[in-house]
């Protein structure tokens, strides 16, 4: 009863949150250094910072997953101690994690009920599924968040799964919602939808803490912005602040958001793909008779809405997916049928789309990850044994050269921030002579400072005369990097255009609409 009374009181006066001097240390690392933060009722408070700045650590303390070493959490002028998320939820704070906490084989209603199931007939009674379903429908209607209570989580797209997470938090009667990098996994359309939902939630008096490193989103939604760098609050800003200012506040120095590059000097045809057919996991043709050419010293960007065969194309080039028909030629040598190792060894560098799944071995050290594809070659080793001294030596060099922020070559990669993990992958793939460089979503989930760095390295590689193929679902990135933009639609290249082509035109092509005769060279 007391909980209910407390909730009723809060619904009249929306929740006000204050963090005072929050400090959290992990060993020698000070993840949060006396952070003060106030979230007013009904506002969207953006917490902006690079990966590894300590945003998630701060929010995990607020949600009871971690306990602060120092400092206080004050809810409605009352100091609170959260020992577990349960305490935080009871105080009206909910969180949607970057990686969803959902059971894939359960339905939406079951997932939402999980943890506070409605049970009839005592502690060993049966689940009241009907009531759980009703709760879900009620909440989803009240907040305008359409979810199907009977759908299985594994069948839902990522955006819908996120909606389920939000509904789940809202059914717990929370008044403050923490969204941890909610847009990192979303398509542009889904991001738009999420921002709309956030606005309607704040209209109903909820407050939102929005963790992100994407400047555009911050500017479009936040009422106030707090910037965190290396565990400290370095400033607060209003949404009117320019992107460049925000970026430099975040990174601690002036940042160039545009890719600067000299005009390309394309040479011979390095990669020549003709009539390529590749199947997806379900056995249907994802790439259907694709032709494309990448020349030495140029960046070919592939633009397209995700799921039009880009992933399968890249995997086929790398020998990770069988080629059903057609040829993939590297300097007139057919790559189809070669093993991934042979392809890598013939001078192809590769940044996979999903870094933590395919890019790095998190349990391995930075040094080991840097030689993941070179461990059995001189000077790092031979077919039988490794040369740990050489591995460590070259790792130290790479760490300096690629500005990988870590405690040393022996640090486990899993402890690094996303941007630094990606730099490990980039460093590894650029540490040998290349003819072709294939980068799939090279800056996904990477902070502003690292994006600038990785883009710079890609252009540098191009200027060395390497042929570069960039696939990205962010049109800005494709247009910024590419010398030629190939628009991919339903497994084919629909048109190859110049990056100066108006965005609307490229957007139409991405939707499969060709306006008469397009330039295609």
């Amino acid at each position: 009863m007391t909980v209910h009374q407390a909730r009723n009181r809060r619904q009249e006066i929306p929740l006000k949150l204050e963090l005072r001097g929050i400090t959290k240390r992990f060993g020698d690392l000070v993840a949060n250094d006396h952070i003060d933060l106030t979230v007013e009722p009904g506002e969207v408070h953006a917490l902006l910072g690079e990966n590894g700045a300590g945003k998630s650590t701060l929010m995990n303390q607020l949600y009871g997953l971690l306990q602060p070493d120092e400092g206080q959490i004050v809810v409605d002028d009352e100091p609170k101690v959260f020992r577990s998320p349960r305490d935080a939820i009871a105080a009206g704070i909910g969180m949607v994690h970057q990686h969803f906490m959902l059971v894939p084989v359960f339905t939406v209603a079951e997932n939402i009920a999980l943890g506070h199931e409605e049970v009839r007939g005592g502690p060993l009674g049966w689940l009241d599924r009907r009531r759980s379903r009703r709760d879900v429908i009620e909440t989803s209607q009240r907040y305008g968040l359409p979810v199907d209570p009977d759908a299985l989580i594994e069948d839902l797209p990522v955006g819908a799964q996120q909606r389920v997470e939000i509904v789940k938090a809202l059914t717990r009667d929370v008044d403050l919602l923490i969204l941890d990098e909610p847009t990192a996994v979303l398509t542009p359309q889904e991001t738009e939808e999420l921002l709309t939902v956030m606005r309607s939630l704040t209209d109903m008096g909820k407050s939102i803490v929005f963790i992100t490193h994407k400047l555009k989103e911050v500017k479009s939604i936040a009422d106030r912005i707090t910037v965190i760098r290396r565990g400290k609050v370095v400033g607060t800003a209003s949404p009117q602040t320019s992107e460049d200012e925000l970026a430099s506040l975040m990174v601690g120095r002036a940042v160039n958001l545009e890719v600067t590059k000299a005009p390309a000097e394309p040479g011979r045809n390095v990669l020549k793909i003709s009539g390529l057919v590749v199947d997806d996991d379900r056995g249907t043709h994802a790439v259907q008779g694709l032709d494309v050419v990448v020349r030495a010293g140029e960046v070919l960007g592939i633009a397209g809405v995700q799921g039009n065969g880009q992933e399968e194309l890249v995997e086929a080039i790398m020998g990770l997916r069988p080629v059903r028909a057609g040829t993939v030629e590297l300097d007139n040598e057919d790559l189809s049928g070669m093993s991934t190792k042979q392809i890598l060894r013939s001078g192809v560098g590769y940044i996979p789309e999903d870094r933590s799944h395919d890019g790095v071995v998190k349990e391995f050290t930075v040094a080991e990850n840097l030689v993941l594809d070179m461990y059995d070659r001189a000077p790092y080793g031979n077919a039988f044994k490794l040369n740990p001294a050489k591995v460590a030596e070259s790792a130290t060099e790479r760490i300096a050269q690629f500005d990988i922020r870590c405690q040393g070559p022996e640090t486990a990669v899993g402890t690094l921030s996303g941007g630094n993990q990606q730099k490990v992958v980039v460093a590894r793939e650029m540490s040998r002579p290349l003819r072709l460089f294939v980068a799939s979503q090279p800056t996904r989930g990477v902070d502003v400072g690292s994006i600038e760095f990785i883009h710079g390295r890609i252009i540098h590689e191009r200027d060395q005369g390497t042929a570069v193929l960039v696939v990205s679902s962010e049109l800005d990135e494709v247009v910024g990097l590419a010398d030629r933009v190939a628009v991919m639609y339903r497994g084919r290249i629909l048109a190859v255009v110049s990056p100066d082509t108006p965005r609307e035109e490229i957007g139409l092509l991405m939707a499969g609409i060709t306006g008469g005769e397009e330039e295609s060279k």
Binding site: R20, E70, L344, V361, K385, P388
Partner: protein, 412 residues
């Protein structure tokens, strides 16, 4: 800055010590698991003794009786366990004063090492496979195959002394490797789960052995029961003889541990298998063939378990019987678990299991406590190791109170 920075010397030495103890130290957890297992074992010893239990029926009247009797029972049982595993102090002093022989004094340690030797191999087999992401439940079957091939080679060809032993060991290794390679290649080619296939192969191996020892040319012609001809002396692992059964196998086990540690940390294949074990997708993307790694890894793991079987036959049993491999494969699973899949920890875990087994024999004959208690102790240790949170929860009560008072101090 609202709160005072916390000074480390605010903590008492004890709470500091306790905190260090709890900083997820696996050695500590292992030690405390053993302590817990011993405590629970003590309860089981008392409960299973009817005489002592009878004294508990009038516990309220004369608690001393029951407690004294329990204490005596427990202390003699465990001291016999220790004596059986490490040696009797009396025998040692007899040796040093010249009234006894060194063989008698060292016999318990010899027993410990004898039991431990094959377990080192099977433990390493499981541990290595696990580092590559495979559950080798088949160490038992691979060990049985190793027993068979080593045994048969051992009594079939009358080769000269060193050569015969060498060939027999290699045969054991190859037998086990074959038995490991089958599930490995099945996994690589068809994706068949190694847990299922290795369990099935365990049955096949063990039934094959039962059939084989009764066949003509294998069975000892002078016997009617299921036992094979004896392994030629030239193929036996050299030992001290007499009460000292310990044989060269323990040194081979030591060498194997060195070898596996090197393989894991220094070799190209070790790098591959660790990468595949930790993230097969990233390994594949980096050009490592996951299928090839699985097949090869299972063959190597099988070879290790096969050597364990060979050591058992050539060092201890000297002939094949249906039960010649005992439980060494399954115990290897526990040993690897206890050793957290690290080569040297696995080696010491095998020594501990060997010691428990050797001590258990003495405990059974001197205190009349069933050898099964040792199995229970082994199982309890492993359960506690597998659930470090449980061990921490049991021992943590005081520690967490200290921590909490520390937090209050900092706030005040």
């Amino acid at each position: 800055m609202t709160a005072e920075p916390r000074k480390p010397d605010e903590d008492s030495f004890v709470s500091h010590f306790v905190r260090n103890l709890w900083s997820a130290n696996s050695v500590t957890v292992t030690f405390l698991s053993a302590v817990l297992a011993v405590v629970i074992g003590a309860v089981l010893i008392v409960v299973s003794d009817s005489e002592v239990l009878a004294k508990f029926s009038y516990f309220t009247a004369r608690p001393g009786d029951a407690l004294t009797a329990s204490w005596e029972l427990i202390s003699t049982a465990y001291s016999n366990l220790l004596k059986g595993a490490l040696g009797d102090p009396e025998a040692y002093s007899a040796w040093f004063s010249g009234t006894g022989t060194w063989q008698d004094a060292l016999a318990p340690i010899s027993e410990t090492l004898t039991y431990a030797a094959p377990l080192v191999f099977t433990g390493l087999s499981v541990a290595l496979a696990f580092r590559g992401g495979l559950f080798n439940i088949g160490a038992q079957g691979q060990a049985v195959l190793g027993c068979i091939t080593a045994g048969v080679v051992g009594f079939s060809f009358g080769l000269p002394i060193v050569l015969n032993l060498l060939i027999a060991l290699i045969a054991g290794l190859l037998g086990g490797a074959l038995w490991g390679f089958i599930p490995g290649i099945l996994k690589a080619r068809t994706g068949a789960h190694e847990v299922i296939t290795t369990i099935m192969l365990n049955y096949i191996a063990s039934l094959f052995l039962s059939w084989l020892v009764l066949q003509k040319g294998i069975q000892d012609p002078d016997r009617t029961d299921a036992i094979s001809k004896a392994v030629a002396e030239s193929a036996q692992l050299p030992s001290f003889g007499g009460v000292l059964r310990v044989h060269l196998g323990i040194l081979l086990a030591l060498a194997a541990t060195f070898g596996v540690a090197w393989l894991l940390n220094r070799s190209a294949f070790g790098f591959e298998l660790r990468a595949v074990g930790a993230n097969p997708h990233a390994a594949e993307t980096a050009g490592i063939s996951v299928a090839r790694t699985y097949a090869l890894l299972m063959a190597v793991a099988g070879g290790l378990a096969g050597l364990g079987g060979a050591v058992q036959v050539l060092g201890t049993a000297h002939a094949l019987t249906p039960a010649v491999a005992g439980n060494i494969g399954f115990d290897g699973l526990l040993v690897a678990l206890l050793g957290r899949n690290k080569p040297w920890s696995t080696f010491f875990a095998a020594l501990l299991f060997g010691a428990l087994r050797a001590g258990g024999n003495r405990m059974q004959s001197f205190s009349g406590i069933s050898l099964e208690l040792v199995t229970v102790l082994q199982a309890l240790i492993v359960i506690f190791i597998a659930a470090p949170a449980l061990v921490k929860a049991i021992f943590r009560l005081r520690a967490s109170r200290n921590l909490r008072s520390g937090v209050t101090l900092a706030k005040g």
